[in-house]
């Protein structure tokens, strides 16, 4: 575990150093941010659509401040689990607690103040600029009629900077490329200023450079803002490289759970991803590296 943590700290530390070179970051009120971020407790959660069960009794405990990656095949329930934790889907059975508070008893606004979710996709609104879109993330933090509050502009500016989209702030979102939009969606999630951050495939549409950049940003922000992060990643290599803990889902159930060096094995590739391959250790970083070979045919 120690080695893995060291690897995770690498990009985080570098990020902080350059953040200082970037000049003063806008002051954002840190009131109410003292103490550990809330953890997440998922107990026996089931959810499904009339003809298709998706989650079939998921138990998961995410410790405060942990960086967890969810992996699994298409349709295994990863995204659905994130939506349940964000309070967007009401589970048929079981409960979700954020920092000890039951999600079922919260209003939409109360839930949105605690947890932010980066969506896989969101339709761009014609004519809406990046800044206008990111400002929408401040809705839950505002009063009942959505009037601007003092800290809103600072939070928006900081989110734009953290996601690296400051330069496009006044450009219309529908004029951006897929990868650029993905980083705008990250800014939208960051503008929420919640202590729990859920990311549904944050690296979709991005080239390798920007994949590493976004994941490095997530690692750095987790340290700077002291966040609890759960992200769905399709690339097991990224999960092994950046996460402290990997949770694997298969057909709506948790089938593996642990530190990357413990769980990323050829067995995991076969059991969770239906892939035959090998796993080695990165000679410099020490994290597991996957060498997928061919799809497993039952």
């Amino acid at each position: 575990m120690g080695d893995t943590r060291g690897a995770v700290d690498g990009p985080g530390g570098t990020g902080t150093a350059t953040a200082a070179q970037r000049g003063p970051t806008p002051e954002v009120s840190t009131a109410g941010r003292s103490g550990r971020p809330p953890g997440i407790t998922v107990r026996d959660v089931a959810f499904g659509y009339p003809d298709r069960p998706v989650l079939r009794g998921v138990d998961l405990r995410v410790e405060p401040g942990e960086l967890t990656a969810l992996i699994g095949m298409n349709g295994c329930g990863k995204s659905t689990l994130l939506r349940v934790i964000a309070g967007l889907l009401r589970p048929e059975r079981g409960s979700v607690q954020l920092g000890g508070e039951d999600l079922a008893g919260m209003s939409r606004r109360e839930a949105a103040r605690r947890v932010a979710l980066l969506h896989q996709s969101a339709p761009p609104v014609p004519g809406m600029t990046v800044r206008q879109l990111v400002r929408q993330g401040r809705w839950a933090a505002r009063g009942p009629l959505g009037m601007l509050r003092g800290g809103d502009d600072a939070a928006v500016t900081r989110a734009l900077a953290d996601a690296g989209v400051t330069g496009w702030a006044e450009r219309p979102v529908d004029a951006l490329s897929g990868g650029e939009r993905q980083r705008v969606r990250l800014a939208l999630a960051l503008a929420r200023d919640t202590r729990i951050l859920l990311l549904d495939e944050p690296t979709t549409y991005l080239d390798l450079h920007h994949q590493l950049e976004v994941l490095g940003t997530v690692v750095r922000l987790r340290e700077e803002r002291d966040l609890t992060v759960v992200m769905v990643l399709h690339d097991l290599g990224h999960a092994a490289r950046f996460a402290e803990r990997i949770v694997a889902l298969r057909e709506g159930r948790v089938v593996a759970d642990g530190a990357p060096r413990e769980v990323v094995t050829p067995r995991l590739l076969a059991d969770v991803l239906d892939v035959v391959g090998r796993v080695s250790v990165d000679p410099v970083g020490g994290w597991p590296v996957c060498h997928p070979d061919h799809p497993l045919n039952h």
């Binding site: 690498g10 990009p11 970037r22 967007l88 969101a122 014609p126 809705w139 009037m147 330069g167």
Partner: protein
Amino acid sequence: MKGSGVVVPSPAGRRAGTPPRLPVPRSPLPRLALLFLVVLAVAVADVVAGRAVTPAGVWEVLLGGGDALDRHVVLNLRVPRMLVALVAGACLAVAGLLLQSALRNPLAGPEVTGVTPGAVLGAVVATGFGLADRQSPLAVVIAACLGGLFGAGLLWVLTGRRRDDPTETAVHGVLVSAVLGGLTAMVLLVAPGELGSVVQWLIGTTDGRVWQHWNLLWPWALCWGIAAWLLAGPLTLLRCGEEQAAEAGLDTGRARGAALLCAVALAAGAVSTVGALGFVGLLVPHLALALFGADLRITVPGAALAGAAVVGGADALAQVGGRALAVLWDADRLTLPVGALTTALGAALLLVVVRRSPTRDF
């Protein structure tokens, strides 16, 4: 343990050599002010455009002079007519913007979502069956509101689960409008005696709108206009998508319901005063969005100004056009209803909008 070969992701926000520059957002206030000036100019044009009094005579009356007839024409006929045209246009435009945002459908307007035809039906039924008359204009507004809600509700039920598809909504909206229009025609046939002026509702006209209409319209428009502006924040968020809005903490069902109610009330207020002015509620929101952008807290007032300018301008044009037609055909009493003009112009503009808006991206 960090060797020289470690690939370290570069932090976001820095591209090599180009430090991020903070672009300054363009303020929409100059555009709002400019549009306000346009509305003022249109108001003047509308008051001047009539037949019986020359522009010089109008000027004299406004300065406090003029003979009794001129004073009556300008102060009791032209000024209230102009005010009603401006505010009705504002109501229809804001109603359309609310509908398009709440339904996330660029083809939604009060005319094609059953709201306007329903409001006309409500007003006609109330008048035709003696529930409302000149002595109780508020009853007409309430009846128009109920009719508008009925029309929108009918569309809601008919589209069912496919209401997220803009085309589906538009097609069913045409169907609902046709059915409601047929019902209106039936009422007109059954009880024609009371309804001499009702045909004006079907086309939309500002002829003969006097202070009585204005006194009813402005408080109604003001109340619901304020409600519309308070809904602008939630609706801006709702335009980002259902799930996105819910995720950000919005109770989407409640926001949409409030917006629909507000849109129906605004459209019904306008319809009960000037009738079903075609295409204003469908097209002016597109103009407002193009001018003022996606932040509805600016665009809602912008749409109100744009609607006022469009209907006021159309009314002035209709009066000038009516005068020209009267000269051409030597028919002194010929008037051109403003609704005929907005419908004719709007039909042409709709083609432009439909070609420009890729509906799946909305």
